[in-house]
């Protein structure tokens, strides 16, 4: 059980180090970096490399943004397996519905509750 925590910490940290390298070395803006990582996530899943990583690292692979790309692709491929080409469209948000809906919902609730301050 403890080993899951350690692997999650290490794999999560490494993915963030890659993001930091994209920030500092490749001089990408945060938005570009996140898009690159999402695309990388979905390509990795296409090659079937991301699922074993989730098995190995648990939250270390599902929390970073690469898991968003992965679950989109995974849903699309799972549905495409059953229904062919149309499945690619129908299955897209099959797996990852909670991420987007939670972000939209909590974003709006935050807009109602909070007021931004400028303190450092």
């Amino acid at each position: 059980m403890v080993s899951m925590f350690v692997t999650a910490f290490i794999v999560g940290g490494l993915i963030c180090v890659i993001g930091q390298l994209l920030f500092d070395v490749a001089k990408l803006t945060p938005a570009h970096t996140l898009c690159t990582l999402v695309v990388a996530g979905s390509i990795l899943d296409g090659l079937g490399l991301y699922e074993p990583l989730i098995d190995f690292a648990g939250a270390g692979a599902t929390v970073p943004i690469t898991s968003f790309g992965n679950s989109l692709t995974h849903g699309a491929m799972a549905e495409a397996e059953k229904h062919g080409f149309i499945g690619v469209l129908t299955g897209m948000f099959e797996v990852t519905s909670s991420g987007i809906s939670a972000a939209i919902l909590f974003g709006f609730i935050a807009a109602i509750i909070f007021k931004s301050k400028g303190k450092v």
Binding site: F23, P30, S116, K117, G118, K119, V120
Partner: protein
């Protein structure tokens, strides 16, 4: 290049100054000299822009109270800020009902408005003109960079926009007050800098160019001035600016200062230092102004620097054009 040089024979004076600042600015070494300080970024109002307008209006009223006159006695109001279409300055002009000229030179507006006021006074058309510039951290941050609460890692070259407004009342020559004697209108200089989080590097060449033209045009030397203070180059820009000036064969070790470097002291929370029209105008109208009134400085050269980019020009991969206006104040 002898163009863009101004000499004011009638030596218009800065009769009084009004400076207001936000909560974060209380930790600035210049804070004791501020006339009014708010404990909330929005000075208690609903939106950032409303707070920004109140900041400017209070600064104008304070400057007027020091020359004990009312908005009705003022001939011209010259204001500028960085928000889209300068709405805070426009709303202030609406409340004060003074004939209004909106000026935009980004963070160089503090000096460009002084130059325009001096010109109007020199032409004998104005007994009292209010000239000033302002900026507010929240409204600039959300317009130029990211939402305030967004967690992006600011590099060491980033600058923190100051929440402050500085306004000066310019009148025909008055003994005992700093007089505006010479000025140089800056040229737009663009040496291909593209990183909006390193504006100091983009503005440094403009400051060096204006300094060089001012000294050559008016036939003065670095040593004639007690201090040569640039607007908001901050640490990186100030280093580059000094290097450029030294390459032109001048010594920058004695009397070179920068408002951006000094505004927040040496607090690493603010990365390279301060920026914004509020930064240069407040330091000029408090620190420099009081030191001249006390006689510590006899002759100063103020070079305010401004980056003339927009969020749109950045996204369209344009480089950052910059400008720097210079003005010379003398105590007789």
């Amino acid at each position: 290049m002898k163009k863009g040089l101004l000499t004011f024979a009638s030596r218009p004076s800065i009769a009084a100054t009004g400076v207001t600042a936000g909560p974060l600015e209380q930790q600035s070494p210049f804070a004791p000299l501020f006339d009014k300080v708010y404990d909330d970024e929005r000075s208690g109002l609903l939106t950032n822009e409303k707070g920004h307008a109140k900041l400017v209006e209070d600064a104008c009223m304070i400057a007027l109270s020091k020359v004990d006159s009312k908005p009705g006695d003022v001939d011209f109001l010259l204001l500028g800020d960085l928000v889209n279409q300068m709405t805070p300055s426009n709303f202030t002009a609406a409340n004060l009902e003074i004939p209004y000229l909106g000026l935009f030179a980004a963070c160089a507006t503090s000096v460009s408005s002084l130059i325009m006021a001096a010109l109007l006074t020199e032409a004998g058309m104005s007994q009292c003109t209010l000239a000033g510039a302002s900026s507010q951290h929240n409204s600039i941050e959300r317009q130029f960079r990211y939402p305030v609460e967004y967690g992006s890692q600011k590099p060491d070259t980033a600058q923190w926009t100051v929440t402050a407004a500085g306004v000066a009342a310019v009148t025909p020559n008055k003994a005992g007050n700093p007089a505006i004697t010479k000025a140089t209108i800056g040229r737009v200089v663009d040496l291909g800098m593209t990183e909006p989080l390193n504006m100091g590097a983009a503005m440094a060449p403009a400051a060096a160019d204006t300094l060089q033209r001012h000294l050559d045009g008016h036939g003065t030397k670095i040593t004639d001035y007690d201090v040569i203070m640039t607007g908001d180059l901050a640490k990186t820009g100030f280093e580059l600016y000094k290097t450029l000036v030294e390459k032109a064969g001048m010594d920058t070790t004695t009397n070179f200062r920068d408002a951006g470097v000094e505004f927040y002291g040496n607090d690493s929370n603010f990365q390279a230092g301060a920026s914004g029209a509020g930064c240069s105008s407040t330091v000029y109208f408090t620190d420099i102004y009081s030191k001249m009134m006390e006689g510590e400085y006899k002759r100063v050269l103020l070079i305010a620097t401004g980056a003339l980019l927009s969020p749109l020009s950045y996204q369209q991969k344009e480089t950052i054009p910059c400008i720097a206006h210079a003005i010379e104040l003398t105590m007789k």
